[in-house]
Symmetry: C3
Subunit: 174 residues, 3 copies
């Protein structure tokens, strides 16, 4: 199945450095109007700061950036009419932030699903698949990958287009 | 390729919380007759007990459950005629139990393959793909993922239908 | 999409024990002429020595083996005319060797890409996808999976055929 640049809600799943952010940016850039980049990353160490700076340099001027480490649904709900496309990068850091903040993950996922369905602008969601290694040796790691798997399922259910990325190449799942 | 609910031996592969058990249950539930759920899990801690209880509540009444942490081939061979469908959930815990019990994994895999080929009822096998993370830092983890990879290959070879799951969505491989 | 045995540069991606080396060997063996196996492994422990011996026994006589733990591009560039096919097994160990040797990974990847494009004989590259587990708990592990992801993307960009393997089964991505 081919990639569909005109989908309303697109979920881009994949591993680390699989090219999912880049494809999401390319798909968003095909839209007319203002592009909104919602970053869930918080720059709390040099490694993360470097990664954010690299992503920002790659995107260029057409983009308006908003940081939403936790309040993602609220940020989506507050976007102005006429937004050309929204990219959420990424749900994995958002999940990590939610867990740090002690939030109810299922309730947050349901809130995000509702915000996505109410959103008029096309949305591209970037998320990691993290469940394909051996069982993590600590309970936090196991909880994280369970939450991530459930969150990805919930997002895939509301998305009308789901792409699995590997080595920069797309594999359309929905 | 579409999912084929009428396959004789179906292998559902995927990561943690990828929706493989749920799809296996849905495919089994389309069959007429008694459904057999072969659980390889042993409830030795609260985390596992919760997971088993959650799965059991989801399945409902049509299912007859059998625990087979190690003797999986024997359990398959002993099923009564007229069984509507059999779900084995999952081969990853079975492998873990075999390793704990010091069994010869290749011999066990060959025994299971023979039992599957002799089985008249349709069988759905659930197994994890665990080899897509970085190399585990301990020899047991490396041995586990090697065994799991070989076991998955052996099962895929006898299966007539193989589905890779991610985010609750199926990708047909065979 | 079907597997294409006649592709010029084929990248076989997958997890541990996913059958990628075996399929690469089968695809190479369909070619006429001398087959070259470029091993990036160095036998520095028993586990690795066993794995190398197992692979070598499986391949048989038609193959000429060369060890190239680091100088992979140079080895490709020095192959004699008339080579039937070249198998590089694998890029993940090569990356590991490059990191141990303190090499500039991006420069090495660019050098390899150039050598591949200059190569007349068909080439089969085996590489691991390592980014689909949870975030590694140490900086070296995180750096490794980032490098591997970028290297796989660079190779997929120059390859004319990319196959993702799971459970011994191919999924064609390009």
């Amino acid at each position: 199945m081919p990639v569909r640049p005109d989908a309303r809600i697109t979920l881009l799943l994949g591993g680390a450095r699989s090219g999912k952010s880049r494809l999401a940016e390319e798909l968003a850039a095909r839209r007319t109007g203002r592009l909104v980049y919602i970053a869930t990353a918080e720059a709390w160490d040099d490694e993360m700061r470097d990664r954010i700076a690299e992503h920002r340099a790659r995107r260029g001027d057409r983009w308006h950036s908003i940081e939403a480490p936790v309040a993602l649904a609220e940020t989506l709900n507050a976007l102005p009419a006429g937004t050309g496309a929204v990219l959420v990068d990424c749900l994995t850091l958002w999940l990590s932030n939610l867990m740090h903040a002690g939030r109810d993950i299922e309730a947050e996922a349901a809130g995000l699903a509702a915000a996505l369905q109410a959103q008029i602008a096309p949305v591209l969601l970037v998320s990691n698949e993290v469940g394909l290694g051996i069982v993590p040796d600590n309970a936090l790691g196991r909880a994280f990958r369970d939450h991530q798997g459930r969150l990805n399922q919930a997002m895939a259910a509301v998305a009308d287009h789901v792409i699995f990325m590997a080595a920069g190449l797309p594999l359309v799942m929905k």
